[in-house]
Structures are given as structure tokens and as C-alpha cells.
């Protein structure tokens, strides 16, 4: 007879057993995901510090005499960000669900999972420790650690403190992991390139396992404004959040509670809302019954008087920076056209979001991307490279827009880049590869692309006009010599110089035309 055994597992243990849901499903994908998580953490750290990021990434092959495609790689990443205070270093890198991002503002990471997952994956595939060196400007702390998976905490093997005479600030991390570079090389470089596209103020340096150096240099020193941390919007709250706020509140009545803990709620709104929820304004939050809590949360969905969610927690890239980034990474020239649009903030399910779209076309685009449409997708400045056709951007660009309206044919070379920033990106999975088609998001994405496409239509119209003008000039260049040749043959003269006439048409000065004298008709004796 067997007995069913019950046991609880730690979060680290859970992800150890289910690593595919975090994007570590196979050696090549794991290589990609590890790089991605670490680069994103570095970028966030730099932006928090308000310095233009300088991120250095190196992947080297560790020779273990294996003759398979799966190899051991050493992964090193360095940044010039805030640095992690020494007391937080062990948890930050060796404890799942520990982080600085559990607040309501836009950041690349959200789950406090990615960086640690890279460390965890490295450890379980190579059984090697991770090395973290970090400084917030003072002493430099160097940790060598492993994850105690069963207990979801760090076990520190070594901790060295060094002097920091040059005042270095930032973080460096080195780990070993099993991976497969050859299969993921293209995507990885594409990821870095697209990261450079939406982070035009960042310097990215990458040395790959074959010793090749990739440099993505910044095109500007300007950073977009730092997002502010905000209180939750009533529309986005659920019963659990509500309950936690009540547990933590110091307010004495529900009116004060609503005003204190939610954004955009003043005395009038609080009273009207509580009236709709059928909860007394004077009730003490701490003594609210579970039924009342459910009633109040339900009422947040029905009440229409709340202000739109505050968008100061968002940090769109901005039209200027996004244009800089795309032009820089796609090598657009004067012969190309790009239109960038940053939409006004909007909301879905109580979460604010901003959509930015860019549409580019032209000769370089045709050369590098060929005919047809190429889509780049970004969420909170992270490039999304997988599952394109499942995402909301693909749907908006391919299903919702009639491109003929914008003079775009099926063989027109077109680059569409869409960036969505939000406190909560509607990802469909923990792997963060594509965004779901929330109706509000879909509508905004569609409108953003449309707005940018209107610029493209103007560009095409202008180009058609220019082409027509060129044809016009060609016509003069084609016929005037023939007129000169045969009229001179008729007149039995040398061929006259037509350059002055061609000069007139190419400069197209209307006054010249006025100077043309009236010429008499051919007068010739017509008698028989």
C-alpha cells in the first residue's frame, strides 16, 4: 500500500521544476532568456541612476571537451547602474521573488524572477556558483554564492570587500551555464540591436563566443523621464489588494481610506463611490466585513466617476528618442522616411498604458528588409522576438488596417515598430514574448499605427509628385535634342545648343517663361 505524501516546495524549487514557463525550456532558448533577463536588469539599474547605460556583455565558451552542440558558457555582464546595496545582494540574485520592482511604476522586470532564474539555471546545469560584484559608490562587495533551492535563499561561499578609490558604481555578474549559442546567435544579436533601437541613450557592447565584437553605440545622451511610483487606481484593484491595504492602513474611516490609498480620489469622489458601494463613509476600514469588501471591490468596476489613471508612472520613449533609435539601428538615411507617434495615455482594466508607433519606409528599408511589412514589437522598452503572429501588434497591423488607404501596396517595404509601456503589460505568458489583444490596447495600437501611417501616405504622395517631376524633366531631356537635330537638318544648319533650355526646365523658374517672346506663325506663300 502506498501513501500519498504531502509536502510544500519553495518558489525556487517550483521554478526549478517548471523552468520552461520562465523561458528556460531548452539550451538555446535558455541562453537567450538568461542574456535578456540580465541585460534588462542592468538597463533598469542604469535608468534608476539617471545615467546613460553602458552595458558590457561577454559570452565565452568553457572548454569541457564535449562534442555536442550544447556547451558550457561563461556569461559576464557589467553595468554602470545604481549598484545593489551589499545587504540586498544575496537575496536579489539568489532568491526567487525578491526585488525592487513590486511597486506601481513602469519597469522592464516585474516578477523579481528573471535574474535569479538565470542564476538558478546556471547552477543546476553546471553546479558552479555565481559571482556578483557591486558597489553603490562606496566599498566594492564581491560575493560568490549558490542558491539553496529547497529553501529559496542564498548560500554565500565567499564575500570580499574591497576599497573603491575610483568611485566606481554599478554591478558585474558572472555565471556559468549550459547553452547552445549557434542556434540562438541570430536572435541574440537581433535582441541587442532592437534593445539599442528603443534605448538609444544606451551603449551596448557584446563579445560573442567566437570572439566577435558587437558595438551598439548610443545616439543620444538624453534619457526619457523617470517614471514615478503611484498609488493604485481603483479600477485595477482586486479583493486581495484591497484587504492588504486595509490591513496596512492608518486611516480611521472609509472616506479617508479611499482618499489615502487610491489615486485620483478626492472627498466628493470618495463619498459618491461609497454611496454606490453601499458602504458607510464613516465605517472603520479595520472592521469592514468580508461582504463589504467584496461589495466595495465590485463597485470599483461599476463606478464611472474615477479620473483616468495617472500616467506619471509611465515612461514612454518619446517621439524624438524613438526616432533616433530606429534611424540609428536601421541605418536610415535621407532617402528614407520615418514617422513616430506617441499616443496620449489610455487605460485597460485600471492600468494606464501608452502606445508609441513608428512607421518607416524608403530605399534603405527596401535594401535591408526587402518587400513587405516588418514588425518590431516592444513592451516597456524590451524587444519581443517570438510568437509575432500571436500578438496584438501583428493583429492590428495585418487585420485592422487597410493599407491601400495609405498608398501602401503588398510589396511596399515597410517597417512598423510599436512600443507599449504600462505598469502591467498584458503578457500572455511568464516568458514575456507577446502581448494579448485587450480591446483597449488593440484599439490604441491600431490608432497609433494609423496615425504614423498617415505620415507615410504624405511621404508617398510627395514621392509620387517628385517622380512625376523627374519624368517631366526626362521628357524635355529626351525630346529637345531630337527637335534640335531635325530642325537643324530642316534648316540646313549646325545642331543648336539646347543646354540653356534644359537649364530652364531643371530650375523651373516661371519668370523665364514670361520672357519667351511671341513668335510669328510660319508665313509662307501658299498659292499653288
Amino acid at each position: 500500500m502506498s501513501q500519498t505524501e504531502y509536502q510544500s516546495i519553495s518558489p525556487a524549487d517550483f521554478f526549478y521544476r517548471n523552468r520552461e514557463i520562465a523561458g528556460f525550456s531548452n539550451p538555446s532558448r535558455a541562453t537567450y532568456t538568461a542574456v535578456r533577463e540580465l541585460v534588462e536588469n542592468s538597463m533598469d539599474a542604469c535608468e534608476a541612476q539617471r545615467v546613460p547605460p553602458e552595458v558590457y556583455l561577454r559570452i565565452t565558451e568553457v572548454d569541457d571537451h564535449r562534442d555536442t552542440e550544447t556547451k558550457i558558457y561563461k556569461l559576464r555582464i557589467e553595468d554602470n547602474g545604481t549598484g545593489v546595496p551589499s545587504e540586498h545582494i544575496p537575496q536579489t540574485f539568489c532568491q526567487v521573488f525578491y526585488g525592487s520592482k513590486y511597486i506601481l511604476k513602469q519597469a522592464r522586470g516585474t516578477f523579481g524572477l528573471g535574474g535569479t532564474m538565470a542564476v538558478l539555471y546556471g547552477q543546476i546545469t553546471t553546479h558552479k556558483p555565481v559571482q556578483v560584484i557591486s558597489s553603490t559608490g562606496g566599498e566594492i562587495h564581491e560575493f560568490t554564492m549558490m542558491i539553496d533551492i529547497q529553501n529559496n535563499r542564498a548560500s554565500i561561499l565567499k564575500h570580499i570587500i574591497r576599497q573603491n578609490p575610483s568611485g566606481w558604481r554599478g554591478t558585474a555578474l558572472e555565471l556559468q551555464m549550459e547553452g547552445d549559442y549557434s542556434r540562438i546567435m541570430y536572435r541574440l544579436i537581433e535582441y541587442l540591436k532592437q534593445t539599442a533601437m528603443v534605448n538609444p541613450y544606451a551603449d551596448l557592447t557584446y563579445v560573442d563566443p567566437r570572439g566577435r565584437l558587437y558595438k551598439f553605440e548610443r545616439g543620444t545622451e538624453k534619457l526619457p523621464p523617470l517614471p514615478q511610483s503611484v498609488k493604485p487606481h481603483p479600477h485595477g484593484v482586486d479583493v486581495e489588494t484591497f484587504r492588504r491595504l486595509i490591513a496596512a492602513t492608518k486611516t480611521r474611516n472609509m472616506k479617508g481610506f479611499m482618499m489615502e490609498h487610491f489615486q485620483g480620489v478626492g472627498p466628493t469622489t470618495a463619498e459618491k463611490f461609497l454611496d454606490l458601494a453601499d458602504v458607510s463613509t464613516k465605517a472603520n476600514p479595520k472592521t469592514l466585513s468580508p461582504e463589504d469588501i467584496v461589495k466595495a471591490v465590485r463597485a470599483t468596476r461599476e463606478y464611472t466617476g474615477f479620473k483616468r489613471p495617472d500616467a506619471s508612472c509611465l515612461s514612454p520613449i518619446g517621439e524624438e528618442l524613438l526616432e533616433t533609435g530606429i534611424k540609428k539601428e536601421l541605418n536610415l538615411t535621407e532617402e528614407d522616411y520615418i514617422k513616430v507617434v506617441t499616443r496620449k495615455p489610455s487605460t485597460y482594466l485600471g492600468f494606464p498604458f501608452v502606445v508609441e508607433a513608428a512607421v518607416a519606409t524608403g530605399r534603405t528599408v527596401r535594401k535591408t528588409h526587402g518587400a513587405g511589412m516588418t514588425i518590431y514589437r516592444f513592451a516597456n522598452r524590451i524587444p519581443l522576438l517570438f510568437d509575432e503572429s500571436s500578438g496584438v501588434v501583428w493583429k492590428a497591423a495585418n487585420k485592422n488596417i487597410n493599407w491601400k488607404t495609405y498608398n501602401v501596396e503588398s510589396d511596399t517595404s515597410l517597417v512598423i515598430a510599436v512600443h507599449i509601456c504600462s505598469t502591467k503589460i498584458p503578457y500572455k505568458s511568464v516568458g514575456k514574448e507577446y502581448m494579448a489583444d485587450q480591446p483597449e490596447v488593440e484599439k490604441e495600437v491600431t490608432n497609433a499605427i494609423r496615425e504614423a501611417a498617415r505620415g507615410v501616405r504624405r511621404y508617398f504622395n510627395r514621392r509620387f509628385r517628385i517622380a512625376r517631376e523627374h519624368r517631366r524633366l526626362n521628357i524635355f531631356g529626351k525630346f529637345l535634342p531630337v527637335i534640335a537635330e531635325f530642325s537643324s537638318k530642316l534648316a540646313e544648319q549646325e545642331i543648336p545648343d539646347i543646354e540653356p533650355l534644359l537649364a530652364v526646365v531643371s530650375t523651373d523658374i516661371p519668370e523665364v517663361e514670361k520672357k519667351l517672346k511671341e513668335v510669328p506663325e510660319i508665313v509662307e506663300d501658299t498659292s499653288k
Binding site: 525630346f479 531630337v482 531635325f486 530642316l490 534648316a491 540646313e492 513668335v519
Partner: protein, 346 residues
Amino acid sequence: MEQSLTGLGNLIYEQITNHEFPWIHMQSRSTDNIMYDPEERQYVLGPRMIRRHSRNIRHIRPFTQLVWTAWFAKELVMHRKTSTLREVYYSARGHRDIEYNNQQESDNIITDMEVALNRAREDFHIFPEERSAIFGDLTIEYTVPGYEGRRTNLTDHPDGVMIGPAVTSSEFVETSADKVLVVEKGAMFTRLVEERAHDKFNAILIHTAGQSPRATRGIINRLNQDYDLPVYIFTDGDPWGIHIAMVIISGSANAAHLRGLTTPDAEWIGVWGTDIIDYKLPTEPLTEFDHKRLRELKNDPRYTGDIWQRELDVFLKLEQKAELEAFSRYGLTYIVDEYLPAKLGS
């Protein structure tokens, strides 16, 4: 002729050397500038002029084609060669940037040149495809290269002589005929020759092969003007036959810019609507198309004369038409023995 072409070349050459975009003035050929002149008894071009200007993006191609065509014509004239409309079209093809899309374009440019230089294309040695013929006692002297001074009498060949560039450009030396008889069909022409109608009526016979070519109309005009010969036209008794006669008499709108192609005193002698009744001719009913055409002709300014209006009304009333061959019901020679003497006598 060379002079007028050289004149065109000089004009354009000077405009270019004066740093001006070359252009020329010419009468407009659009329908609202074509009007009937009752005094001249033919269509003429009105006073409206157009400029064909090489500065204009829509004009420069036809302008270039016009200059090329003028050069081509000058080559023809200088080398004493003749050409056809079709040949001019093919000569332009493959020739640098002046290609035509179809022959109609080329023909149009040639007409432009006629208007601009006030000359008929035959003067530039450009002829249409010829099918019409002439027969009768008329001695001509050729002027075409290789035949200069050679004479021939147009009775020499029983099939008649084709009215081509050689006949058109020849001098008329002498004739004993005292009238010209024009028929629209080759079969009737052959019948007239066989029945010695030229002797019987002392006539020069011409067949137009349908709507008469300009060269034929020019010959008819010369015979009428130079030798004072009255001209009689004998066509099918239907709107199309009537109009063949009318174009010989009063010209066409297409040739409104040309003179010397009409013979206003020529007479249409049949087949009339009244002939159908008088001779009890076998007939065919008018088609809807015939009907429409007859009504058009009734409102045409060329058809104002009494006889025209009367005959058009008869056809419309009878709802019938008759061909020249209808007289064959009385025997093959009836037309020469009975009908024509009666008509010419009246």
C-alpha cells in the same frame, strides 16, 4: 515645297538659338473650329489658332514628331520619292524617341503638318493607299522620276489606270471628253468600260472605290476647273452612296484646312429615291443605321439644296434603298443604254 519645310526648320532653329522653347502657331482642328462656309461651298477652319509649344509637357512629344515628319517629308521631296501614310508610320517606328503608338497618331501629325504649312500631304509626296482608277480619253505627261516627259492616254489600259502619285503629279495634256462620270464601285466602272460608255457619252470615267481618296477628289477638281468639264456622280441609292457624292462636291470636315479638293458644281445623278419609284427598282429595306444616317444628313449644312432634301425625304418615306446593280433586272446594258442617257440628258 522644300522652302516651306525649310522655313519651318529655320523658325524652330532660330527659336532654339534665341534660347526660347520652340513653338508654332496653327489653326485649331477641333470640331468647334470647323464650320461650313456656304460661299466656298465646303467646310473651312474657323479663326481660332492654337500654339503647339515644346515648353508644354503634353505638346513636346507631338511637336517633336511634327519636326521629324517635316524632315522626313523634306527628304522625300528632295530625293523625289513618294511614300504612303503607312510607310511614314513605319519609318518613325524604331526611330529614337519619336515612336508612335499607332498609325492614327502618325496620320494625325501629318494632318497637323498640312495645317501648319497650309499644304496637302500629297505636296509632301505622302499618299494614302490607292484603290481608285481613271479611264477615258485624257492624255497625261508624267513628271515622276524616270518617266519625265513620257505621255500616255488613259484609254490605253482597259482596266483603267490607278490614281496614284504618278497620275496625281502628271500634267494634263489634252482630252476630247466633254464630261466626267464618277461611279463609286469597281464593278460598275468595268461595266461602263465594257459598254464603251466613254465613247457613248464622250466621258472620262472615274471610280472612287467607296469614299473617294483626296487625290481622286483633286483630279476631279482639276478636270472640272482646268477643262471646264461637268462632273456627274453615280452612286448607290442609300445614305452612304449619297455621302460619297457629297464629299466630292463639298468636301469633308477632316479636310477643312485644304482647298482644291471640292467640286461644288458636280452633280449627283443617282441612284435617287425617285428612281426607285420611276424605274421600279428592286430594293432592300432601310436598316436602323441607314435611318439614323439619313436623319443626320438632313441636318447637315451641306445638304441644304432642294434636290438633297427632296431625295432624303423620299428614302425616308419609302423605307427602301437600292444599289447601282439594281438596274441589272432590265439586263446588263440597260444602265448604259437607257438610264444614263436619260439622266445625262435631263
